[in-house]
């Protein structure tokens, strides 16, 4: 079921929660809406669910305009952030709730509930009360309750935010697996960029009610369209530089007094002496004996598979360090050591700060 949002606008009093958002979710795919809190992602979810009606725009499901359809008649279902399980009902009755309101026969209800109970591996909990469940179990019940009614679209509203870190990873893998198997179109809202990258087929990064970039997780990670996306998805270094020259395949940039060569990808937008923002990932900082820049290691943080360093580049202040990630197995360094490094790949995000603001207008 292809889900299309067309020019959705929603205002609360004077504040614009969602500002002209258009998204297409291909049938059977999962799209993650990610952004800082208050960016309007949950409002979009509510609009799709029919719990909030948009001021302008359309929600189109499989070619049918469902904008005016009330929530209880939409083939969509939400997995709420706090689960919103009914405390007075057992696990079984919680899951059966949506079926009962559809006046489905008892035998069928039992069969369908049992099926999702098994799917989420919670059959032994079916007679428990909600308050007798752990957070992870409640999460499973919430997902089961949504799946059982065979929705055409399933909406996840930060479903894992109240679980601990390890459980969060397990659950998101499970959710992704179930979504694959059932092929239900899904919209997944989160403020956790790592979760978004892991779960999504498509990623939409939002800020202040607008969509900043849409693409596969890889595209968004490797080619952030602007500094906000770059900084929000993953970690990044953002520094200013100056264009020296722009040929058909290479852009030469002046960074900290040295020359950095980038692939231009046919981009001729930037010419002569323009100040630009240069963005590069910590893992693209490569220590090399004949490296272009010189730096001192300020701090070291061991994070398991990678080790993060804060570098003070010669000529820059300590309050403006460069982040560098080295993988396990690469040569490590100690604070105080002097190293030389190169930047493997970087992207030019904008011509200058003034231009950034002009672009936004």
């Amino acid at each position: 079921m292809e889900l299309v949002l067309k020019n959705i606008i929603k205002k609360y009093n004077q504040t614009v929660a969602v500002n002209d958002v258009s998204i297409t979710v291909p049938s059977g795919k999962i799209i993650a809406l990610v952004g800082p809190s208050g960016c309007g992602k949950t409002t979009i979810l509510r609009v799709i669910a029919g719990l909030v009606s948009p001021d302008e725009g359309q929600v189109i499901l499989n070619g049918r305009d469902i904008t005016q359809l009330p929530a209880n008649q939409r083939p969509t279902v939400t997995v709420f952030q706090e689960y919103a399980l009914f405390p007075h009902l057992s696990v079984f009755d919680n899951i059966a709730y949506g079926l009962k309101t559809r006046h489905i026969k008892k035998g069928e209800i039992k069969e369908r509930v049992t099926r999702v109970l098994n799917m989420l591996k919670i059959s032994e909990l079916k007679d428990r009360r909600i308050h007798e469940l752990s957070g992870g179990q409640q999460q499973r019940v919430a997902v089961a309750r949504s799946l059982v009614i065979n929705p055409q679209v399933i909406l996840f509203d930060e479903p894992l935010s109240s679980l601990d870190a390890k459980l969060r990873v397990e659950m998101r893998e499970e959710i992704k697996k179930i979504q694959r198997e059932t092929e239900i179109t899904a919209v997944y809202v989160t403020h956790d960029q790592e979760e978004a990258l892991a779960i999504a087929d498509q990623l939409a990064v939002m800020k202040e009610g607008k969509i900043e970039q849409v693409g596969t997780p890889e595209e968004v990670y490797e080619n952030p369209r602007n500094s906000f996306v770059g900084q929000f998805i993953g970690w990044g270094n953002l520094f200013s530089g100056e264009i020296i020259s722009n040929s058909s395949d290479k852009i030469r940039v002046n960074m900290w007094g040295k020359e950095l060569v980038l692939h231009s990808n046919g981009n001729r937008k930037y010419t002569g002496k323009a100040p630009v923002e240069i963005f590069f990932r910590p893992e693209n900082v490569i220590p090399q004996e004949d490296g272009t820049w010189e730096a001192e290691i300020l701090q070291k943080f061991f994070c398991g598979p990678t080790t993060r360093y804060r570098l003070k580049v010669s000529g820059l202040s300590e309050s403006n360090p460069v982040l560098m990630d080295l993988f396990v197995g690469e040569t490590g360094y100690q604070p105080g050591e002097k190293i030389r490094f190169n930047i493997r790949s970087a992207s030019i995000l904008a011509a200058s700060k003034e231009k950034v603001s002009q672009e936004n207008k």
Binding site: L51, V77, T78, A84, L85, F86, P87, H88, G98
Partner: protein
């Protein structure tokens, strides 16, 4: 089945559209019910809360249709001004000591390892469900002119009545209310703060005075404010044991009942309303969001739960609790003894004559009391729940106003409300005085704040999320209301119901002005009996009332207790037949 066949035969391909059409009709209907209720709630609030209160206030400044301050002149410029001073110092004194006693009881029951603390709790609850004037009967039985202690034992011919007696009875009577409120806050107090204070090196006594007491202060304030309103409303105790000592409430009663001087009574009522209404605002101002309680009730570490004071202080506090409990149980015993004693003070032989005369003349009062209490218990909380449901969502000024009206009866003293009703519903088109309806109505309205707040608390806790989830899963408004909202409100309904039942049984202040010979209730009979000097009969009525209240509470609890009981019996049965209950349930 029928439904399904209908769809199969007529709808076929268009089933989807037809079904959504039916959805619409059903939604319309439920919408209509909701609208009906949404209109009824404001109308009831306006008619039975706002109108009477305005009416009584305005009546105090009109004499025969003319604006006049005559009644206030009578009050302030004659010797009647003494009423105000009497009321003021009695209220402050009784409130202070009742709250203090309540605090001591609460600390004793919740935070000590004293033996018999369960009995203290029981004593306090017994006080709350005992009818008004019971303490007055007992007091007269013990310390009256023919009192057991003063006359029979000591041979004195004195009558210990006067303001001291009123003060004593009010303090004892209201301590249990203060106790319940403070104990409730104390139980929910976030103990981690005390623990961290201890951890930081403070002594136990220091922790009590710098942490526990300040944290408890909002609870104590709430208790004191409620007790204060109660005492302002108390007209019975001053009349029965005050001798010549009069306060505003008792004067208002006398002005209405014996002189039918409604204008002056209205002025007295208005003077009583002023401090009571200010209390509502004071409560908001002082308490606001300052009730520091933790949602997690932890009972672990009951060792350091105990508060330790100097042994002498501890002993003194224990003695206070013990005396309070002793006095309470003496009450009950004396009521029973008094019921079956021939003539108290003269002839202490066993006799059934009070019981006989009560059954002969008072049977209709028994029936009425029960009838009214049950009606109030059923419909009162329903009104409160509806009001809570309708007023919680909207943030508009209008609904804020209605919310205020819903809790206003809490601050209007009973007699003031009663007099207001007499004035408001004595003329067409609302000619309701003399009917049973008006008695049930006033009790329902007086109970409204409790069930309203209970309902509101549940709804706030539930939040909008569950309702949204229900709609999202495909339920319509009616299903959502009946399957989610109502079941969740059941505990609040129960609280409201128990309160309303007790209130319906033992109330007097508000309804005494509305009672007609046909609608006499037990509390009224008690009052009349004592006023006639017939202690035995009063005791007999009180005895019946206590028995009925306890029995009624037991019956009201059954719907909640039975399923639990049933389950445990069933499990025992299954076990005795060698079936494990868990397995059995799974098979079902």
């Amino acid at each position: 089945m029928c439904r399904k066949a209908f769809f199969l035969i007529f709808l076929d391909n268009e089933g989807y559209h037809m079904e959504s059409y039916l959805w619409k009709i059903k939604d319309r209907l439920t919408e209509l019910i909701f609208w009906g209720m949404a209109i009824a709630v404001p109308i009831i609030l306006l008619t039975f809360v706002l109108y009477p209160v305005l009416r009584v206030s305005l009546s105090s400044i009109y004499d025969g249709g003319q604006f006049s301050l005559k009644f206030y002149e009578q009050l302030f410029l004659t010797e009647k001004v003494k009423l105000i001073w009497n009321t003021a110092y009695l209220s402050f004194l009784s409130t202070f000591f009742a709250t203090l006693l309540g605090l001591i009881l609460a600390l004793g029951v919740v935070r000590s390892s004293w033996p018999g603390k369960k009995i203290f709790n029981f004593a306090a609850i017994l006080h709350i469900i005992s009818p008004p004037f019971v303490s007055a009967i007992v007091y007269i039985m013990l310390f009256g002119r023919r009192g057991f202690i003063t006359n029979t034992l000591l041979g004195l011919d004195v009558n210990f009545i006067g303001w001291q007696a009123v003060f004593f009875l009010q303090t004892i009577g209201n301590a249990s209310i203060a106790y319940l409120i403070i104990a409730n806050v104390l139980k929910r107090l976030d103990r981690t703060m005390e623990k961290s204070a201890l951890d930081l090196g403070a002594s136990k006594a220091r922790v009590f005075f710098t942490i526990t007491l300040p944290l408890l202060l909002p609870g104590i304030t709430a208790a004191a404010l409620l007790v204060f309103t109660n005492i302002l409303a108390d007209f019975g105790t001053p009349i029965l044991v005050g001798g010549g000592f009069r306060v505003l409430a008792s004067e208002a009663y006398l002005q209405v009942i014996s002189l039918f001087n409604m204008g002056f009574a209205a002025a007295l009522c208005f003077i009583l309303l002023v401090p009571c209404l200010s209390i509502i605002f004071l409560e908001k101002l002082i308490l606001g969001n300052r009730l520091f309680t933790s949602s997690v009730l932890s009972d672990e570490g009951s060792l350091d739960k105990e508060l330790r004071f100097h042994p002498v202080v501890s002993a003194a506090l224990y003695l206070v609790c013990l005396l309070f409990s002793l006095y309470t149980f003496t009450h009950l015993a004396l009521i029973i003894i008094g019921t079956f004693t021939n003539i108290w003070g003269y002839d202490f032989t066993f006799s059934l004559r009070h019981m006989n005369s009560v059954w002969a003349q008072g049977f209709s009062s028994v029936k009425n009391s029960l009838k009214f209490a049950v009606q109030v218990a059923i419909f009162g909380p329903f009104l409160g729940m509806c009001a809570a449901y309708y007023l919680k969502r909207s943030r508009s000024i209008v609904s804020k106003g209605f919310e205020f009206l819903s809790i206003l009866p809490y601050a209007v003293p009973g007699p003031v409300m009663g007099i207001a009703y007499v004035m408001s519903f004595h003329h067409p088109p609302l000619m309701l005085t003399g009917t049973a309806f008006i008695i049930v109505a006033i009790c329902m309205i007086r109970e409204l704040p409790i069930s309203f707040n209970a309902g509101k608390a549940v709804l706030e806790q539930v939040g909008k999320n569950l309702e949204q989830a229900s709609m999202d899963l495909g339920a319509n408004r009616w299903d959502t209301f009946t399957r989610v909202v109502l079941p969740l409100m059941a505990p609040a309904y129960r609280v409201g119901m128990i309160h309303a039942f007790i209130h319906g049984m033992i109330t007097i202040g508000a309804i005494i002005f509305l009672i007609t010979p046909r609608n006499k209730v037990l509390t009224f009979e008690i009052f009349v009996a004592i006023n006639r000097g017939n202690l035995g009969e009063g005791a007999a009525f009180a005895f019946i009332l206590i028995v009925m209240t306890v029995a009624g509470l037991f019956l009201l609890n059954l719907p909640w207790q039975l399923p639990v009981l049933w389950k445990s019996i069933r499990e025992r049965w299954l076990r005795s037949h060698g079936i494990s209950p868990e397995k059995h349930y799974q098979e079902i």
